[in-house]
């Protein structure tokens, strides 16, 4: 029941805002809807913790430890982002970069996007998963082009085409999956695409077909994850859209995509009994980390910089899932959590910074700490956190991943570490002069409301020094589900 509400509330919100989205109080409404969604997600979580997995609506939807924590995370970040976008978009309106109509579009699409992501997370049907992934793309494409600048249009176009093509591959992969399933358990139609069923008898699925299927699925969903070399749309889309969208794209959509990949990997590994899928993931992961590190070295646009850092971290996560095993999966899940929290926080801060400076070019952003200490410290702390500086949570997950890598894949460790070092130099060398240093701009009249930033960072910090036991158990359960025996 909660489940349907969970998806229903943002859908309803999308409809309402589609009509009223341009009103003065629309942002508040937007935040309110997100709040409702978040509350539902919380009740759902409690329910799952107490009662265990759920299967509802003719088994079309289900909740297990793996997706429930992602659902909560998504709802949470959705809420904070809505809160952040309230003042932010107002300022954008004042700067005249947005019209009322666009704002309406923005609000309703925002909710729609939430709905699609929640569906993708909670559906049990691989076909529906695909549909909602595609829908997620479609709902955000127009948000990326919200400003109608040349750059944003280009970004949107690339986003649309590359992800569209990618997702098409995923569809074919799904078809093959369906084919294999049908072949295995006879033509019982609908249920043949239900993940739970497939998972139950993954042993009988035809390896040859599943191998092919996995390649298509990996390339398809991997495009949305932004694994190099399929990542080319990502920096553009993340950099050119409005900041709240960048935040949710980096913080949530990537998670959802990698969630899809992992779901598929579980099935395929079950039938292939070979390390091939894992190796593919690791290959993609390493490539992404290394390439991203070098791209980072040349960035001049603040949002592009952090978009590439998202690619880097997706690479790390993919690598971890590729290694598999209880610890690695655990670490990967933890990393997904802290990354989405940190990265969205960074985008909030960066958005404010760019808004103050009136430019996303980093050499135009200087001396934030004197300009507006909260933004400055937010950006600095966020950057340090994302760079894996203790005691932030990112370090915890990276520590686990690296140590596991030393055991499982010693050859990869130096590569990873080298890339991390380069990324550190690149990002920190650019963030420092933005935060510190002197500026000729005048101090701001009113400090921006950065509650979301510091809320996120506080959470990340807490996760760094202390992972509460129930959360840990929850992660462990998820890891076990993913196949870390």
């Amino acid at each position: 029941m909660e489940l349907l509400l969970l998806i229903g509330s943002p859908l309803a919100g999308a409809l309402i805002l589609g009509v009223l989205g341009s009103r003065r109080w629309a942002p508040e409404l937007n935040a309110l809807v997100s709040l409702v969604t978040f509350l539902i997600a919380c009740t759902l979580t409690i329910r799952v913790i107490s009662a265990g997995n759920l299967l509802v609506a003719h088994e079309q939807f289900f909740i297990d430890p793996f997706n429930v924590f992602l659902v909560t995370l998504t709802a949470l970040v959705g809420l904070t982002t809505a809160l952040f976008s309230r003042p932010y978009m107002r300022v954008e309106m004042e700067h005249g970069r947005l019209s009322a109509g666009r704002l309406r579009l923005y609000h309703s699409m925002y909710q729609l996007f939430m709905a699609t992501m929640l569906t993708a997370l909670t559906t049990n049907n691989m076909g529906l998963l695909w549909v909602s992934m595609e829908a997620a793309t479609l709902s955000t494409v127009l948000l990326v082009t919200l400003y109608r600048t040349a750059a944003s249009l280009e970004a949107g176009w690339k986003y649309f085409i590359l992800c569209g093509v990618g997702i098409a591959q995923a569809l074919f992969g799904t078809i093959l999956l369906y084919f294999a399933a049908e072949h295995a358990l006879g033509a019982e139609g609908v249920s043949a695409l239900l993940w739970t069923h497939l998972n139950a008898l993954k042993g009988q699925l035809e390896p040859a077909v599943l191998g092919l299927a996995f390649v298509f699925l990996l390339v398809g969903y991997g495009t949305k994850v932004g694994l190099a070399p399929l990542h080319n749309w990502l920096p553009d889309a993340h950099a050119e859209g409005p900041t709240p969208i960048s935040a949710v794209l980096s913080g949530l959509l990537l998670n959802v995509a990698i969630y899809a990949v992992v779901r598929c990997k579980v099935l395929v590994e079950g039938s292939l009994h070979s390390a091939l899928p894992g190796q593919m993931l690791m290959g993609f992961g390493l490539t992404s980390v290394v390439l991203a590190a070098f791209f980072l070295w040349r960035q001049r646009d603040i949002k592009r910089l952090f978009a590439y850092s998202s690619i880097e971290h997706m690479g790390i996560i993919a690598f971890a899932f590729g290694m598999g095993g209880a610890v690695a999966n655990f670490a990967a899940l933890l990393h997904m959590t802290v990354h989405s929290l940190t990265k969205s926080a960074i985008f909030f801060a960066a958005g404010h910074a760019a808004q103050k400076a009136g430019s996303q070019l980093m050499e135009n952003i200087r001396g934030l700490i004197t300009l507006s200490p909260t933004v400055g410290w937010g950006l600095m702390m966020g950057a340090l956190a994302i760079l894996g500086m203790p005691p932030f949570g990112v370090f915890a997950s990276e520590f686990l991943i690296l140590t596991t890598a030393m055991r499982e894949q010693p050859w990869a460790t130096p590569i990873l570490l080298g890339a991390l070092g380069i990324a550190f130099a690149a990002i920190f060398g650019r963030v420092q002069p933005m935060v510190f240093g002197e500026t000729n701009a005048k101090r701001l009249p009113h400090p921006p409301a950065l509650l979301p930033v510091f809320a996120h960072l506080a959470l990340v910090l807490a996760l760094g020094v202390y992972v509460p036991p129930y959360l840990a158990d929850w992660y462990r359960a998820a890891a076990r589900l993913i196949g870390g025996e």
Binding site: E134, G156, F295, R430
Partner: protein
């Protein structure tokens, strides 16, 4: 082809024609003709679905056939033609690779696709198992089409023909997907095209042309001028 029932022959015929069409698209430069080819592709797909439905007597296939007819044969071509007329994009500029070269690549791709589909067809119990390879080929060929084109419009056409290929693949491998998925897919395609429409106008008003070389500004390979203050190095 003795021993093979007639309707099946027809099906294989459709498959062969689909492949031929993809090659035609690969070669074709006129955008309008491309759209027409797309429409024909849709029509063939419709026919194939109908045949299959009639042969296997699976009712949901009739529905999806209807969907195909409505969406891919009538609506999309109409929409695209309208766009073309509104935006005056009739010709695609010279492709990155000349026709014969493209054809050669296409040939290789087809061989690859067939070898790819081999294991699947081997398992398939459907009557149309042999045409899975063709479906894969169509998908990959439209991929190549998209790679070689420079006009946004023709890329879209390639994209749609890829969807057709997918549809055909689903058809020939498993007699189509579960209904709910079919509907979802159809919906997505519809929305996608609508979004595309909006896009075209946006791009147009921005660059007053749909030529993709306008859309090559965001890149890394641009030479960086030295940063304002030499920090971080």
């Amino acid at each position: 082809m003795n021993g093979v029932p007639f309707d099946l022959q027809l099906l294989n015929m459709c498959a062969a024609l689909l492949l031929l069409l993809s090659f035609a698209m690969l070669a074709q430069r006129r955008v309008v003709t491309l759209v027409n080819l797309l429409a024909i592709q849709g029509a063939l797909l419709f026919a194939a679905t109908l045949l299959l439905a009639w042969r296997t007597g699976q009712h949901h296939l009739y529905l999806s056939a209807a969907l195909t007819l409505g969406l891919k044969v009538i609506f999309l071509p109409w929409l695209l033609h309208r766009l073309i007329r509104r935006l005056e994009v009739y010709w695609d500029t010279e492709p990155l690779l000349d026709v014969s070269g493209t054809m050669l690549v296409g040939l290789v791709v087809v061989v690859f696709a067939f070898s790819l589909a081999q294991p699947i067809s081997a398992l398939a119990s459907t009557a149309t198992r042999s045409s899975i390879g063709i479906a894969v080929a169509v998908i990959l060929l439209s991929f190549v089409t998209m790679i070689t084109r420079r006009k946004a419009m023709s890329q879209v056409v390639g994209f749609l023909s890829m969807e057709n290929g997918l549809f055909f693949g689903a058809m020939s491998a498993t007699y189509g997907m579960p209904m709910i998925v079919e509907l979802g897919v159809a919906l997505d395609v519809l929305v996608a095209v609508l979004v595309l429409g909006i896009f075209f106008f946006q791009i147009r008003e921005q660059f007053d042309s749909l030529d993709l070389h306008h859309l090559e500004a965001l890149k890394e390979s641009a030479a960086l001028e030295p940063r304002a203050d030499g920090e971080g190095r």
